[in-house]
């Protein structure tokens, strides 16, 4: 069967020469189709003697395989060429802008600092508690040992709500301390809470806003003394300012709701309107604190001979200013997009003690 070689040669040449997928398919049908040349030779095997078959069978099979493979290879080649030709027509100018969408937004620095503070105290076992902004006089003052008519009340520049005829006006809470009262009256010691919130004082100038933010802490536990207060707050300022060491000092002060009372200063350097904590020789007041006043404990139904603990309160806006170098308090509450974008935080920043606060 000398024509096997010829057929193979002719078939492979035709396959290689096929200019398109359609032409290639025509060659395939002509050779391998039901009525094709190779198929015709294959069907001739049945009429052969066993010996002829033994000799020609493998040759014909090899021919079929060779032609089939050549068709596949040529098909792949033609397809690749076609794709390349198609892609060559599909260029777009990717330097053009995509459809406009919003840039990622930001989180307000005060809210971020609230979370930083909560993360630090959360790590010390504090849980977060809250209370209302509109308070009654008793929770905001009387229960906190501000006697009626006492000058200490006047230092608070209180906002009063319109009172019903003959009634005592409610107030906008002047500090987060009423939540101490609400917590001590509703929960049994041990208590370890942190109270973030809005507070209000009737004062508006370069360094005061009529609304600002405080964080209050309260610990009522057996054996808790002023040394714990110092330790807890020193641990806090080191963690908060994220510097290796913060030199701090405690000074006696007066708050009606703590006895003994103190203010805490941290050492800092002031230059060019910027305050840097952790160096320098100046001092900066950061918070007020003290042992919960026995009268406050009594007002909440706790026996001061049995229960004791400490409380502290700090201004969050000022802490945020200090840590992040914002020069002015007033833009905090203006919702100015430029300011917010500049000083805000990315939405994926979640303060944690393990992951870094900021």
């Amino acid at each position: 069967m000398s024509d096997i070689k010829t057929i193979e040669k002719e078939a492979l040449a035709a396959i290689q020469a096929a200019p398109s997928l359609e032409a290639l398919d025509a060659v395939r049908v002509a050779e391998l189709g039901k009525k094709g040349r190779v198929s015709g030779l294959m069907s001739g095997l049945g009429k052969m003697t066993p010996d002829e078959r033994k000799e020609n069978g493998p040759k014909l099979n090899a021919l079929k395989v060779a032609v089939d493979e050549a068709v596949r290879a040529r098909k792949a080649q033609l397809e690749a060429e076609a794709l390349e030709a198609q892609l060559a027509t599909e260029t777009i100018d990717l330097t053009l802008p995509p459809a406009p969408g919003p840039r990622t937004g930001t989180l307000h620095p005060v809210m971020q600092v609230f979370e930083e503070i909560a993360a630090i105290f959360g790590d010390m076992g504090f849980t977060v508690a809250e209370g209302p902004d509109i308070e009654d006089d008793w929770h905001n003052f009387t229960a906190l040992n501000f006697p009626e008519g006492h000058p200490a009340r006047e230092t608070h520049d209180t906002f009063f709500m319109d009172a019903p005829e003959g009634g005592t006006p409610k107030v906008l809470r002047t500090h987060t301390s009423p939540v101490q009262i609400r917590t001590m009256m509703s929960e049994k010691p041990p208590i370890r809470i942190l109270v973030p919130g809005r507070v209000y004082r009737n004062d508006w100038d370069a360094t005061h806003t009529p609304m600002f933010h405080q964080v209050e802490g309260l610990v009522i536990e057996k054996g808790i003394h002023m040394g714990h207060l110092k330790g807890c707050l020193i641990d806090f300022v080191k963690a908060f300012f994220e510097v290796d060491d913060v030199v701090s000092r405690f000074r006696p002060h007066f708050f009606p709701f703590t006895e003994p009372s103190a203010e805490m200063d941290v050492q800092c350097e002031r230059s060019g309107g910027i305050v840097e904590v952790g160096k320098g020789t100046d001092w900066l007041e950061v918070l007020g604190c003290g042992m919960v006043h026995p009268n406050v404990l009594r007002n909440c139904g706790l026996d001061p001979a049995e229960h004791q603990g400490f409380a502290f309160g700090m201004g969050v806006d000022r802490l945020a200013m200090l840590k992040y170098g914002m020069p002015d308090l007033r833009p905090y509450f203006e919702a100015d997009p430029q300011w917010t974008r500049h000083y805000g935080f990315a939405p994926w920043t979640t303060p944690s003690v393990s992951g870094g606060l900021s």
């Binding site: 802008p97 989180l107 308070e135 330790g231 641990d235 000074r251 509450f333």
Partner: protein, 797 residues
């Protein structure tokens, strides 16, 4: 409260310098606010000698002086009329800061009318070291060249200003400051008892106390033949240093004692008094022309001093003009009384008078000081003004003493962690003027009469701790909390955190705006609740607690637009107020967009609209684990929403969790805002709590093996039928099998009858077991029937 170092040393025998005193003040709780040390302030200035002063060739009033200074011989052009040859003066070198003028000299010499001036000669006033009206300081020629100016001008006394906390009115007198500093270890308190001046005649002024609860004691005396000239220089210098303008001997003596002993006094011109002096309550209709020149209405709550002519003073607050002393006064009546603190504070608040007397009486004046204060005034007046003194007239009695306090020495360690020896405790308490009855575990302690802040053991603990020094307190980290760790935040706080992050991630900027807004704006958002009106707002546009956050965000977005940022996207998660009760405050998450038309080369993209607001709101709900299917969209129920382009979001018929869509154009217009604006506000408190599982283990995943089947259906329905009704009815046909029905086309126009619309949606079926074609056909038939029944919709052929 201001005082000078030399004034302090009148009452304190000490070797401590200024820095030591400041450190001890800090330790004892006297918070120093400012220290002005003239030695430091005047350091650049020294004494010079004018060798020659000649007239300036080009200016009549100027002189050209040749001056010998610490820096060598200088040529100084001087405008002072008293500059003359041979004068001893004060030299300011180039570059020096002149405190009284608040400017610094140029660092390089300046030509004045063509003649170079290499410095300046100063007046005492320019150095804030005294008064002189004739020109530059003209000093005694015996003062050597180079002497520091502070020394030459006798202005070496540092002035210390510190904060007096409301519990320590005794610090409003220099003597009280000295007592605490002595107890803190600064030295020894010098106790100066005033001389008892024997009276030579009975006090001619009768004193009557008609309101002993308001004024329980009133001591008075008369001096006849006094000369009310200027007070001595040292007294004037001290008063000026602490910010009090000297007036005349009689007035200066009262002010001096007020600052020296925290003991306010008042002086009357005895010749102008008629009848007895009465301390009584005011009567309706009375008024007083006070020393500040203003006339005040008297109320029956006020304690007044009166004579036959009527009210002549507001007790403990301010005297009146009709009986005031003048330069011509020769007979003076001195009042040393005690007024009830609360009543004095109320009178002060009602009248708005801020006087040194009110400041002291409302905080508490030592009642024991009535007679001592009077004697000191008599002593000083007599010494510097002469005259003859009457016997004192003391009406009433000193109010009852403060009770003894039981102090438990063990409380010191219990409350502070400090271990203090009982002898040290005793020393401190005694130095502060307490007397002690020792009874072992409990001490009975009698506070001095000037202390009003001593009630119980803890108060003594503070005295001991502060005078030992808070630096000595141990530093102890908090122990692990009892009962292990719990979640630190509440579910609402978690919602706040998550919604803030979702909104920031979706392109919103976080705002923190006022909790208040203008009442007239608030009225656009909710009916005004008078209980939410601030009666003393800081500004008229901040007088109502906000019923919604959106108003403030809208105003901010408009401000941003006015400043060139037209497309602000703002959000705030914070309080809104539905009433003044403790449970009426809600935490809301609000977002607001002022859409900006941004052109794009692919055609105008979708601008922000009600549906975009809906998408942002549902993104928040989704992140809070609140499945969107559980909510229903209903017409808006708040006045600030567009009636057709906004909606409320409900959870069943009763609970509204929020609103979204377009803000009412009328509301925006009323607020002066260019519309439109879109947004949403969610009440985070209204969302149901997620069920908490007792275990952290998640349930086993049940994977669906069969692939979902999707079929498209289109219905013709009345235009007023909400699409959500079709979807709900479609799913309702078989809630087990049909997992969703998603609208992909809404069409009105050709081919759809008037008043109707075509709504097409894709139904997704999740088979539980193999479904045949017949099963699916039967299910679709049920869907069609359910939609028809529920909405009147007809399947489109």
């Amino acid at each position: 409260m201001k005082f000078t170092l030399s004034w302090l040393t009148d009452h304190l025998a000490t070797k401590a310098g200024l820095d030591d005193i400041l450190a001890l003040m800090l330790k004892a709780g006297l918070e120093v606010e400012e220290v002005v040390d003239p030695n430091e302030k005047l350091a650049p200035f020294t004494v010079c000698k004018v060798i020659e002063a000649v007239p300036h060739p080009d200016a009549d009033k100027l002189r050209v002086c040749t001056v010998e200074t610490v820096d060598g011989t200088k040529q100084i052009v001087c405008g002072a009329p008293n500059a003359r040859t041979g004068m001893t003066a004060i030299y300011a070198p180039l570059g020096a800061y002149i405190p009284g003028l608040d400017f610094a000299l140029d660092k390089k010499p300046r030509a004045i009318r063509g003649i170079e001036s290499q410095g300046m000669m100063c007046s005492a006033k320019e150095l804030e070291a005294g008064e002189d009206h004739d020109g530059i300081a003209d000093l005694d020629d015996s003062i050597p060249l180079g002497t520091p100016a502070a020394q030459a001008l006798g202005a070496t006394d540092p002035v210390i200003d510190f904060e007096v906390t409301p519990n320590r009115p005794d610090w409003l007198g220099v003597q009280g400051i000295a007592r605490d500093l002595a107890a803190a270890g600064a030295g020894r308190l010098i106790v100066k008892e005033p001389k008892r001046v024997p009276g030579s005649f009975d006090c001619p002024v009768d004193i009557r106390l008609d309101a002993p609860q308001a004024c329980p004691i009133f001591a008075g005396a008369v001096i006849r033949g006094v000369t009310n000239g200027p007070s001595p220089d040292w007294m004037q210098a001290r008063l000026k240093a602490v910010g009090v303008q000297p007036k005349s001997l009689l007035v200066d003596v009262t002010n001096y004692i007020s600052f020296d002993r925290a003991r306010p006094l008042h002086v009357y011109d005895a010749a102008k008094l008629s009848g007895p002096v009465v301390a009584r309550l005011g009567k309706k209709g009375e008024s007083l022309e006070a020393l500040d020149g203003k006339t005040y209405k008297v109320t029956p709550e006020m304690c007044v001093i009166a004579d036959d002519s009527g009210v002549i003073g507001l007790g403990g607050v301010m005297g009146g003009t009709s009986t005031a002393v003048s330069d011509d006064t020769t007979d003076v009546f001195i009042e040393s009384a005690w007024f009830d603190p609360l009543r004095t504070a109320r009178t002060g608040r009602t009248t708005g008078i801020h006087s040194d007397a009110r400041y002291r009486f409302e905080r508490g004046v030592d009642p024991q000081s009535c007679v001592d204060g009077l004697n000191l005034a008599l002593e000083l007046t007599l010494e510097h003004g002469g005259g003859t003194v009457s016997k004192p007239n003391v009406a009433g009695a000193i109010p009852a003493r403060i009770d003894k306090v039981t102090f438990y020495p063990a409380d010191v360690e219990r409350l502070t962690g400090l271990v203090v020896k009982p002898t040290e405790m005793r020393r401190i308490v005694k130095d502060l003027g307490f007397s002690i009855e020792d009874a072992g575990d409990a001490w009975y302690v009698l506070p001095p009469s000037h202390r009003f802040d001593m009630e119980q053991s803890a108060d003594l603990v503070e005295e001991i701790a502060r005078l030992i020094g808070y630096d000595m307190l141990p530093v102890t980290s908090l122990p692990e909390p009892d009962g292990g760790r719990r979640a630190i935040t509440t579910p609402i706080q978690d919602r706040v955190r998550v919604s803030r992050r979702v909104l920031a991630a979706r392109g919103f900027l976080e705002a923190v705006s006022w909790s208040f807004m203008a009442k007239e704006h608030a009225a656009l958002f909710a009916k005004i609740d008078p209980a939410l009106t601030v009666s003393n707002p800081v500004a008229s546009e901040l007088d109502q607690m906000r019923p919604s956050i959106l108003g403030n965000l809208a105003m901010a977005a408009q401000r941003a637009a006015n400043h060139g940022e037209p497309g602000a996207r703002l959000f705030e998660v914070g309080p809104i107020y539905l009433g003044d009760g403790p449970k009426d405050q809600r935490t809301a998450a609000a977002a607001l967009v002022r859409p900006d038309v941004q052109r794009h080369w692919q055609g105008t993209p979708h601008s922000y609209d009600s549906f975009a607001a809906k998408a942002d709101m549902f993104a928040v709900l989704d992140a809070l684990g609140q499945p969107g299917e559980r909510f229903q969209v209903a017409p808006p129920a708040q006045p600030h929403w567009h009636p057709g382009k906004a909606a409320s979001l409900k959870l069943g018929p009763k609970v509204t969790v929020g609103h979204f869509g377009a803000i009412h154009p009328g509301v925006l217009k009323a607020m002066g805002i260019d519309g439109p604006m879109f947004g949403f506000e969610l009440n985070l408190n209204a969302l149901p709590l997620m069920k908490t599982r007792p275990t952290k283990t998640k349930p086993v995943l049940k994977r669906t093996e069969l692939t979902p089947i999707r079929r498209d259906l289109a219905f013709l329905v009345d235009v007023a039928v909400p699409a959500a009704d079709l979807v709900r009815n479609a799913i309702g046909a078989d809630k087990q099998l049909i997992v969703s029905a998603d609208v992909f086309d809404v069409y009105q126009g050709t081919g759809v009858p008037d008043g109707q619309k075509s709504v097409a949606f894709e139904v997704t079926i999740q088979p539980r077991e193999k479904l045949t074609d017949e099963d699916i056909q039967a299910l679709m038939a049920r869907v069609v029937a359910s939609v028809a029944k529920g909405t009147g919709g007809v399947l489109r052929g």
